[in-house]
C-alpha cells in the first residue's frame, strides 16, 4: 500500500504540464503528445458527461436521496414524481459517475504513459494500432464488454435495486403515484417483531432449513447408492439400467411436477385406487395435509434430483484408485468398511462443491411447492401455506401481492443464510482444507 502511494506521489511530481492539463481537460495531454484521435475522444467523453450531469445527473442524484417530493394529483392535472423510476435513475446516475471516475484515472495514466514514451524519444502508437491491440493484447476488453454490460443491466442493477428497496417502504398501498421514502431497517424489524409477519417468517424459516437438509442428504445418499449399485460387477447391461434414471433426468421439471400433481389430485389414479378399495379419497395436497404434502414434496424432489447425483457420482467413481480397494481387501476390510473409509471420503472430497450447490438449490427450490400446492394460503400463515419455502413466500409477497419492501427484506435474509452456510461448508470441507489429498 505504502509502496503504491510513494509511486503515485513520485509520478505526480514527475509529470509534465501536459499530463496535468489532462487532469483538467481530459485528453489534452494525449493530444499534445500527438495522439490526436484519442485525445479528441477523451475530450468528447468529458463533454458528454458534463452535459449528462447538467441535464439529468444532478437531478437524478438528488432524486435518489429524496425519492420524490411532488405528489401527482389527478384533479389538478399535476404530474407527480415517480419514486420508483427516480430510484432506478438514481442508481443509473451513480453507475455513470463510477464509470466516469474509472475512465478519468485511465485518462491520466494514459497521458503519463504518453509522456514516458515521448521522453524515451519514441513515437506514440497511432489510433489504428491501438484499435488493432483490441484484437490482440487487449482482446479481453473486446470480448468482455458485452457480457459485462448484460450482467450489469439484468443482474446487478436489479439486485442493487432490490437491496435498496429493502430499506424503503415501497409496496402495499405505497406504490406510485404515492411517494416512497427511505425507512432504514424498519422492514427487518417488522419481519422479526410484527405479529403480521414474524410467526410466518419463523415457521417458514424452520421448515425451509429442515427441508434443505433432509432433501439434500436424501438425494445425495440415494444418488450415491444408486451409482454404487450400478457399479457392481454382477450387474449386466448397465447402460439399460442407467437409462431409466436418465429418462427422469431429461424430462423438463415442470412437466414432472404437474404430472405428479395430477397423480395425487382428488380424481387422480392413486385416489381412484383408494376409493375403489372402499376407502374415502385422501386430499394428499389439501389445505390440512401438512406433513403428507411435505413428504410428497421430498419424494418428488428425490425423483427429480437423484438421477443427476447418480450421473455425477458415476463419473467420479470411475476415477477411483482401485488399488486401494485391493489392498484394503487383503488387509481384511469388509465392504462396509471400504465404503466408510475409502469411498465416502473420496466422494465427499470430489463432490463438495456439488453438494453445496445442491443444498443452495434445495434451499431455494421454488418449483416443487409452487406446482404441487401453489396459490394456497393457510390459516396461521400470512399469504403462505405450510409447505411454502422462503422463496415461495417471497414470490407470493412481492409478485402476487405487491409487498415489495418486505419481499426484498426476505431476499436479503435468504442471501445472508445461503452465503453464510456456503462459507462455512467451504471453509470446513476437505476439498478446501487439503487440496491435494487425492491428486
Amino acid at each position: 500500500m505504502k509502496e503504491k502511494w510513494n509511486k503515485f506521489t513520485s509520478a505526480v511530481r514527475d509529470s509534465s504540464w501536459k499530463v496535468r492539463l489532462s487532469a483538467i481537460i481530459m485528453g489534452g495531454g494525449q493530444f499534445l503528445y500527438g495522439s490526436y484521435v484519442k485525445g479528441i475522444l477523451y475530450f468528447l467523453l468529458e463533454a458528454g458527461i458534463v452535459c449528462y450531469m447538467v441535464l439529468r445527473g444532478f437531478e437524478d442524484i438528488k432524486g435518489f436521496f429524496t425519492l420524490g417530493t411532488q405528489k401527482g394529483d389527478a384533479w389538478l392535472g399535476t404530474v407527480g414524481d415517480n419514486s420508483v423510476i427516480m430510484l432506478l435513475m438514481g442508481i443509473f446516475a451513480w453507475i455513470v459517475i463510477a464509470a466516469f471516475l474509472y475512465l478519468y484515472q485511465l485518462n491520466i495514466k494514459d497521458a503519463y504513459h504518453a509522456q514516458k514514451i515521448a521522453e524515451a524519444g519514441k513515437r506514440p502508437l497511432s489510433f489504428k494500432e491501438e484499435l488493432a491491440q483490441l484484437l490482440d493484447k487487449k482482446f479481453y476488453i473486446t470480448v468482455l464488454t458485452l457480457p459485462v454490460l448484460g450482467v450489469c443491466v439484468f443482474n446487478i442493477l436489479p439486485i442493487v435495486f432490490m437491496i435498496l428497496i429493502a430499506f424503503t417502504n415501497y409496496g402495499g398501498d405505497i406504490v406510485p403515484p404515492e411517494l416512497v421514502d427511505w425507512v432504514g431497517t424498519a422492514n427487518f424489524e417488522k419481519l422479526i417483531t410484527l405479529s403480521q409477519f414474524a410467526p410466518t417468517f419463523f415457521k417458514i424459516l424452520g421448515w425451509n432449513l429442515l427441508w434443505a437438509v433432509v432433501s439434500t442428504v436424501l438425494n445425495y445418499f440415494l444418488g450415491l447408492g444408486l451409482a454404487l449399485l450400478l457399479d457392481k460387477d454382477c450387474v449386466k447391461g448397465k447402460a439399460i439400467w442407467r437409462a431409466f434414471p436418465i429418462l427422469a433426468y431429461a424430462i423438463p421439471g415442470f412437466i414432472t411436477l404437474l404430472a405428479f400433481k395430477f397423480m395425487f389430485s382428488y380424481g387422480g389414479p392413486i385416489n381412484q385406487i383408494i376409493t375403489s378399495a372402499g376407502h374415502s379419497a385422501v386430499g394428499f395436497l389439501d389445505l390440512d395435509a401438512k406433513w403428507i404434502a411435505r413428504g410428497i414434496g421430498v419424494l418428488v424432489n428425490c425423483w427429480i434430483s437423484v438421477p443427476s447425483i447418480m450421473l455425477l457420482a458415476t463419473g467420479h467413481l470411475s476415477n477411483r484408485d482401485m488399488s486401494l480397494y485391493e489392498a484394503s481387501r487383503i488387509d481384511g476390510a469388509g465392504r462396509w468398511k471400504q465404503f466408510q473409509k475409502l469411498t465416502m471420503p473420496f466422494m465427499l472430497f470430489a463432490t463438495t462443491p456439488v453438494l453445496l450447490s445442491q443444498f443452495i438449490g434445495n434451499f431455494n427450490n421454488f418449483g416443487i411447492f409452487y406446482f404441487l400446492r401453489g396459490g394456497l394460503y393457510v390459516d396461521g400463515y400470512f399469504l403462505a401455506s405450510d409447505t411454502d419455502l422462503l422463496i415461495n413466500w417471497l414470490y407470493n409477497l412481492s409478485i402476487d401481492n405487491n409487498y415489495y419492501c418486505i419481499g426484498a427484506a426476505i431476499s436479503l435474509v435468504i442471501f445472508m443464510i445461503t452465503s453464510l452456510i456456503s462459507l462455512i461448508i467451504y471453509v470446513k470441507s476437505p476439498s478446501y482444507r487439503e487440496e491435494d489429498t487425492f491428486q
Partner: protein
C-alpha cells in the same frame, strides 16, 4: 466353504437385481403413465381405470394441434422454440467467450469479477424479477419474445465456471507456439481453441437451450397475452379436466429433449464433473 460363498454371492446378486428392478419401476412408471394417458380416448382423468385409460386413441394429439381456439398449442410451441433457439445462440456465444477470457487472460479485474459472480449467484434467482419487469416496461419489451431472449442470454455468462474448467484443461503451450508464429490473440481463439472446444460448446448449447425451454417464471411474468405464451405457461394454464391434452402436450415437448439428452449424456457427465472439480 466354497458353496457358502457362492450362496452369498447369488443372494447378493438377487438382491441387487430386485433393487434395480424397483428403481427402474419407480423411474419408468410415471413416464409410462404420462405417455399412455396422452393416448387416452376420453381425455379426462376422471374416466381412467385406475392408472391407465380405459380406451386408447390418438385423438388428444389431433386435438392438440387442431383445436386452437382456447389453447393454441402450435403457437406456444413456436414461441418456445424461438425463445429457446435465440437465447441458445446468443447465450452460448457470450458464455464461451467469457469463459475463454477468464481462463486465458490475466488482467487486473479478473479476480474481482470472479468473486462478484460468485456472490451474485448467492442471491435468490428471481429476487430482481420485479425490477426486471420494471426495466422491461421502460424498454417497451413487455409481451415481446425478444425481451425474454435478451434476459436469458445476458444471464447466461454468469454460469461460465464449467466452461472455464474445460478451457483450463487445454494446454497453454499450443497458444504460446502460435504466438511465436505471430498469431494475435483473436486468431488463437478462433483458429486454435474454438475447434478444440466442440464438446463444451455442445454442452453449453444444450443447457442454454433447455433452460428457456422449461422455464416458467419469467415468461409468466413478462408474457401476458395468451398467444405469446410458451409451452410451460400454456400447459400450466390448462384446466384439470384436460388431462389427456396436458399429457399429449408434455410428451410432445419432452421427447426431443429426452432424445437430445440420451445422445449427449457423455458430454453432460463430463461437463458436470469437470465443473464440479474445478468449481
Amino acid at each position: 466353504m466354497r458353496r457358502k460363498i457362492n450362496a452369498g454371492k447369488i443372494l447378493d446378486t438377487a438382491v441387487t437385481y430386485v433393487i434395480l428392478l424397483a428403481v427402474a419401476f419407480v423411474f419408468f412408471f410415471p413416464c409410462l403413465w404420462l405417455i399412455l394417458a396422452s393416448f387416452s380416448k376420453s381425455g379426462s382423468i376422471y374416466s381412467f381405470d385406475g392408472f391407465f385409460p380405459a380406451q386408447y386413441s390418438t385423438a388428444s394429439f389431433v386435438k392438440l394441434f387442431t383445436d386452437t381456439t382456447m389453447y393454441n398449442y402450435p403457437k406456444w410451441f413456436m414461441n418456445t422454440l424461438l425463445i429457446a433457439a435465440g437465447s441458445c445462440l446468443l447465450g452460448t456465444f457470450l458464455t464461451i467467450l467469457t469463459a475463454y477470457t477468464m481462463s486465458r487472460f490475466q488482467f487486473k479485474m479478473r479476480k474481482p469479477m470472479m468473486k462478484t459472480t460468485m456472490v451474485l449467484g448467492m442471491f435468490p434467482s428471481f429476487m430482481g424479477m420485479t425490477v426486471v419487469y420494471l426495466l422491461m416496461t421502460q424498454f417497451g419489451l413487455i409481451n415481446h419474445l425478444g425481451g425474454l431472449i435478451l434476459i436469458y442470454a445476458s444471464g447466461a455468462p454468469m454460469g461460465y465456471l464449467t466452461q472455464k474448467g474445460f478451457f483450463d484443461t487445454i494446454p497453454k503451450s499450443i497458444d504460446e507456439a502460435a504466438k511465436i508464429d505471430g498469431a494475435t490473440n483473436f486468431q488463437i481463439f478462433t483458429k486454435i481453441n474454438l475447434p478444440l472446444s466442440k464438446p463444451i460448446i455442445v454442452y453449453t448449447a444444450l443447457t442454454s437451450f433447455t433452460w428457456p425451454w422449461s422455464d416458467f417464471i419469467l415468461p409468466k411474468l413478462l408474457l401476458k397475452e395468451k398467444n405469446l405464451y410458451t409451452v410451460a405457461v400454456g400447459l400450466m394454464s390448462l384446466d384439470e379436466t384436460e388431462f389427456a391434452r396436458f399429457a399429449a402436450g408434455s410428451v410432445f415437448i419432452a421427447v426431443p429433449i429426452v432424445i437430445l439428452y440420451f445422445c449427449l449424456v457423455k458430454n453432460m457427465v463430463n461437463g458436470i464433473s469437470e465443473g464440479a472439480v474445478k468449481g
